[in-house]
């Protein structure tokens, strides 16, 4: 007689992944007595015996009223099952243990598998499998079905259990469904004994914090304060790190690269050192700030504050066809657009997702900020400069919200907002660091391709043809700038800055490097020169245009891969360019007309 294993668990526990690991390619859809739906089943060889494994539908509660839950009950009552293999999501064990208890009390042999053990470990959750097994009355194994860890041992446990126990009988199945309340209390005691959750503030404390954080009047101002503090922290820490990086890069250059000037042919030295190394250098020195932003965002997410922000801002966002979460992503975009765009993956509704993707590029990211800080300190007084920056941030928000309003009828959201407000958590440094690192790494590996290509391109375009003065109007770059000039003159941008804008398309971090090449100066000398090249009105118009016209290439590439639509990406770019020109035009012409 063929022995039968039934695979059970809640939806989204990686049950199918585990099923596939167990059964390989031999799974077939079939039907069984007592139920009208088809299920996935397979026959596998387990320790020399042929065993049937059936993947039962995901269920939350054995006494539930959902169709899937009825199917599971009927299956168990009509088909003899020799072993239950219960799969739980280890990261949500506190919510899933009651189901495991329910199933273990059925009177059938059972083995419990905690999937996503790798993720649970990363979250700081620790298990005592012996205590869990004692409380459940069944062996417990930790696995990661995705990576295969622990699966061989799980398979072995299943084999052992099948050989130990005699074949079960449907009559012996006791319908001893313990009352839900008693079960939950039992689950809680078992959890306390056998599982260590990461330091979660107890419910009472979280509630008290929320009374302030979500206070009807204080909530939103407090949030802006927290945001301000985050930015302050990033730039306070990031500033010295940035200087340190720049120092390192400069010294390496002087020590290792300068001597190459005598060895390499002029053009190659220029390309490699002045083009590639210097260009990458301006970007690389900026990495510490980006990393800090990623860490900051990871902290906001992991601590649980993110959902509070979504709660506070959802009312406003809903009027724009967006969602409280869209606001959070917009905020993430102020550090860097790329992770913010990737964050929209949690949104199921395509319309909501696209609308959010459309507005994120308007966030004043840290790369753009770098350019604005340079220009505003060079061209405005020390009392005007902060005001200029603040205005740019306001414009950033307004263009994002305005775009949402305009496009919401075409793209709006149909997805109901439904998110958990978790208890506040104090994430460990390791947790935040690991998460931040993963995301930074992903971003850097993608962005670096474009930036390398970009800096090489700048160098080539500003140095060819070889007869022209470097960065001058006869170079290829200068010629392109010349083509754009008639378009950009009405907004106060001349041919040289047009060239700079071209390069800003690749990455905003390159803009300062491009200016250095086009004007032949850098740092303070460049700042000095700029005061003679343009006035405050032209500078603001330029910054306005730079803020809106397009995001960097990495962002565009991410837009394309997240939206999976070239057409959408095209609309985004087209709209940004048009809006940038329009706003700069309005500003520049009005300012001139008013006599500035």
């Amino acid at each position: 007689m063929l022995k039968r294993i039934a695979l059970l668990g809640m939806p989204n526990t990686g049950k199918s992944t585990f099923f596939n690991r167990l059964t390989g390619a031999s799974a077939r859809i079939g039907n069984w007595p007592g139920i009208t739906v088809d299920l996935l089943g397979a026959k596998i060889l387990l320790g020399g015996d042929l065993v049937e494994v059936v993947d039962l539908p995901g269920l939350y509660d054995l006494h539930g009223f959902a169709e899937d839950e009825q199917v599971v009950r009927r299956f168990l009552q009509s088909n003899p099952v020799d072993l239950l293999c219960i799969i739980l999501n280890a990261t949500q064990i506190d919510q899933q243990l009651p189901l495991a208890l329910q199933l273990c009390r059925l009177g059938l042999p059972a083995a419990v598998v905690l999937n996503m053990a790798d993720e649970a470990e990363r979250l700081g959750i620790r298990f005592d499998p012996v205590a869990l097994a004692a409380g459940l009355g069944s062996p417990v194994g930790l696995i990661s079905a995705k990576y295969g860890q622990g699966c061989a041992e799980a398979r072995d446990t299943l084999r052992r259990m099948l050989n130990q126990r005699p074949a079960a009988d449907t009559q012996a199945l006791q319908a001893n469904f313990a009352a839900d309340d008693a079960l939950i209390a039992e689950a809680e005691t078992l959890l306390a004994r056998a599982v260590t959750m990461p330091r979660m503030l107890e419910a009472g404390l979280s509630e008290r914090i929320d009374r302030i954080a979500l206070h009807p009047v204080l909530g939103i101002p407090l949030f802006f304060l927290a945001l301000f503090l985050l930015f302050q922290a990033v730039y306070t820490l990031g500033g010295p790190l940035q200087d340190g990086m720049a120092w390192l890069l400069e010294h390496f250059r002087d020590w290792a690269l300068l001597p190459l000037q005598s060895i390499l042919p002029g053009w190659l030295y220029g390309l490699l050192v002045e083009g590639l190394y210097d260009g990458l250098g301006t970007v690389a020195s900026f990495v510490p700030v980006i990393v800090l932003f990623f860490l900051g965002m990871a902290l906001v997410e992991d601590s649980g504050y993110l959902s509070r922000i979504a709660f506070l801002m959802d009312a406003l966002m809903a009027k724009l066809g967006l969602d409280g979460r869209s606001f959070v992503m917009l905020l993430m975009g102020f550090g860097c657009n790329v992770p913010a765009l990737m964050g929209t993956r949690v949104m199921r509704s395509r319309g909501l997702r696209l609308l959010t993707l459309l507005i994120i590029p308007f966030s004043l990211c840290s790369a753009r900020l770098q350019v604005f800080v340079f220009l505003s300190t060079a061209l405005f007084t020390s009392s005007q400069a902060p005001l200029v920056l603040f205005t740019l941030y306001v414009v950033s928000f307004l263009t994002a919200f305005g775009t949402a309003l305009l496009f919401k009828n075409g793209l709006g959201s149909t997805e109901p907002l439904l998110i958990e407000l978790p208890p506040y958590r104090l994430p460990t440094l390791k947790q935040v660091g690991l998460r931040g690192w993963r995301e930074v790494h992903h971003f850097l590996s993608r962005a670096s391709r474009f930036i390398v290509a970009g800096v090489v391109m700048i160098w080539l375009l500003t140095h060819l043809p070889p007869s022209a003065a470097v960065g001058g109007s006869e170079t290829l770059a200068g010629i392109f700038g010349g083509w754009l000039e008639p378009l950009l003159q009405p907004i106060g941008i001349d041919q040289r800055m047009a060239v700079v804008l071209l390069f800003g398309f690749v990455a905003k971090e390159i803009v300062l490097g491009a200016m250095a090449v086009v004007y032949g100066l850098e740092g303070d000398a460049l700042a000095q020169l700029m005061t003679q090249q343009m006035d405050g009105v032209q500078a603001f118009s330029f910054m306005l245009f730079t803020l809106i016209y397009t995001p960097c290439l990495s962002t565009i590439a991410t837009l394309r891969s997240e939206s999976k639509s070239l057409a959408f990406t095209g609309v985004s770019i087209g709209w940004s360019l048009a809006l940038a020109w329009l706003l700069s035009f309005l500003f520049y012409q009005s300012a001139r007309w008013l006599g500035y």
């Binding site: 939806p11 939350y60 009223f65 959902a66 709660f311 506070l312 959802d314 406003l316 409280g324 109901p416």
Partner: protein, 78 residues
Amino acid sequence: MTMVRLSELAMGQPGIIEDLDAEEPFRQRLQALGFRIGKQVRPIRQALFGGPLQVQVGSVNIILRRHDAAQIYVWAEC
């Protein structure tokens, strides 16, 4: 005991879930987060400007918009 919508409960007033009158994907998500028939749910606070509702269901706090909460029917003490 009367049957009311979740959005009609007063802050702090508990209700027992009777029906989730929602479309399938949303219904599933509600269940996954703990909104099950027979469970107690209690609104905690409401955001300003007609924003979302924070409710406690079981040991979990969830936020959802009022018109979505209106799809959940509960038994409440009069």
